[in-house]
C-alpha cells in the first residue's frame, strides 16, 4: 500500500455456508488479507419464526477486510454477487438473510512486524 492512500474497512456479515465461496471469489480478484469471525445476529425480520418458536439469533460469519479506497467498490461488488444464495428460477437473486456489507473509514494502519505506520491524509 502506498503512503497517504485512503483506506477503508469493509465488514461483511454473510451466511456461514457462503463464506468459502466468497473467499475464493475475493482470491480470484487478488484480495487475500482478511479476518474471519463467527457472529450471531438478526435483521429487520427479527430472526426466524417457525411455528410458535422464534429464533432471534442466527449464526453468521463476518469478514473484515481493509482495502485502499479505489479497490473497495470492486470488493463490495464481488462479495455482494457471490454471497447471494439465489432461487431455483433465478440463481443470481438474493434471499432474506444473505447479509449486509458495511464500509467505514480507517485513520491509521500499523504493521506490527515492521512498526510501519500509514496515516491517511484526509482533507478536512
Amino acid at each position: 500500500m502506498r503512503r497517504g492512500m485512503f483506506v477503508k474497512l469493509i465488514r461483511a456479515i454473510i451466511r456461514p455456508e457462503t463464506t468459502l465461496r466468497v473467499i475464493e471469489a475475493l482470491e480470484r480478484n487478488g484480495i487475500y488479507a482478511m479476518t474471519r469471525l463467527n457472529v450471531a445476529g438478526r435483521g429487520k425480520e427479527m430472526g426466524i419464526t417457525q411455528g410458535t418458536v422464534r429464533y432471534s439469533e442466527i449464526p453468521k460469519e463476518m469478514l473484515m477486510i481493509v482495502l485502499p479506497d479505489d479497490a473497495v467498490s470492486k470488493a463490495v461488488k464481488v462479495i455482494e454477487t457471490t454471497a447471494r444464495t439465489g432461487t431455483r428460477k433465478f440463481p443470481a437473486a438474493g434471499n432474506i438473510g444473505d447479509g449486509k456489507i458495511f464500509v467505514t473509514d480507517v485513520d491509521e494502519s500499523h504493521t506490527i512486524r515492521t512498526g510501519e505506520k500509514m496515516q491517511e491524509t484526509r482533507p478536512v
Binding site: 474497512l9 488479507a33 479476518t35 485513520d107 494502519s109 506490527i112 512486524r113 515492521t114 512498526g115
Partner: protein, 145 residues
C-alpha cells in the same frame, strides 16, 4: 475518540493485556478470530530456527502429516515447500480511546507483539463518533473513563 482494532498472535494476548493495564487502559474487548495476511497464511517449512514451525506446528502436522519424532515409522524429513495454511487463529483487541491516548496504546501493542516474523498482525485506528455508558447514560469521552 478513536476505535483501535488490533489483530495479534493469540500467544501474545496475555502480555499485551498486562502491558495495556500498565499504561492505564482498562476497557478492552477481546475476540478470538481467524485471519490471514497478504501471504495467504503461507509459510516456508522448515525455517532455520524452527520458531515459526513451533508456533504453528499443529497446523503443519495437520496439513502435511509430519510427525516430529524420528523414531515414528510415519516420520519423514520435512520438505522445503510452501504450505498454504489458510486462516490462522488470532486474537482481536478492540479498544475505545481518546485521541490523545492513541499513540501510547499503539506503541505499546507494537512493542509487545513485534517478533519481526510474518504474522505479527496489524493495528487499525478508526474514527468513532460517540460512546455511551449504558449504566449512567454518560456520553462521549466521559463514558470511556
Amino acid at each position: 475518540m478513536k476505535e483501535i482494532i488490533a489483530i495479534i498472535r493469540p500467544e501474545c494476548a496475555e502480555p499485551t493485556k498486562d502491558g495495556l493495564e500498565a499504561i492505564g487502559v482498562k476497557g478492552v474487548t477481546f475476540i478470538s478470530v481467524t485471519g490471514r495476511g497478504r501471504q495467504r497464511g503461507t509459510i516456508r517449512a522448515p525455517d532455520p530456527e524452527g520458531t515459526l514451525r513451533r508456533e504453528i506446528g499443529v497446523h503443519i502436522m495437520h496439513h502435511r502429516g509430519l510427525i516430529d519424532n524420528p523414531e515414528d515409522p510415519k516420520y519423514h524429513e520435512p520438505v522445503e515447500k510452501e504450505i498454504e495454511l489458510g486462516f490462522l487463529p488470532k486474537k482481536m483487541f478492540m479498544i475505545a480511546a481518546d485521541d490523545t491516548e492513541v499513540p501510547a496504546i499503539v506503541s505499546t501493542i507494537i512493542k509487545l507483539n513485534r517478533s519481526e516474523h510474518q504474522g505479527d498482525g496489524r493495528i487499525f485506528v478508526c474514527p468513532m463518533n460517540d460512546a455511551v455508558r449504558i449504566r449512567t447514560g454518560e456520553r462521549g469521552s466521559k463514558a470511556l473513563l
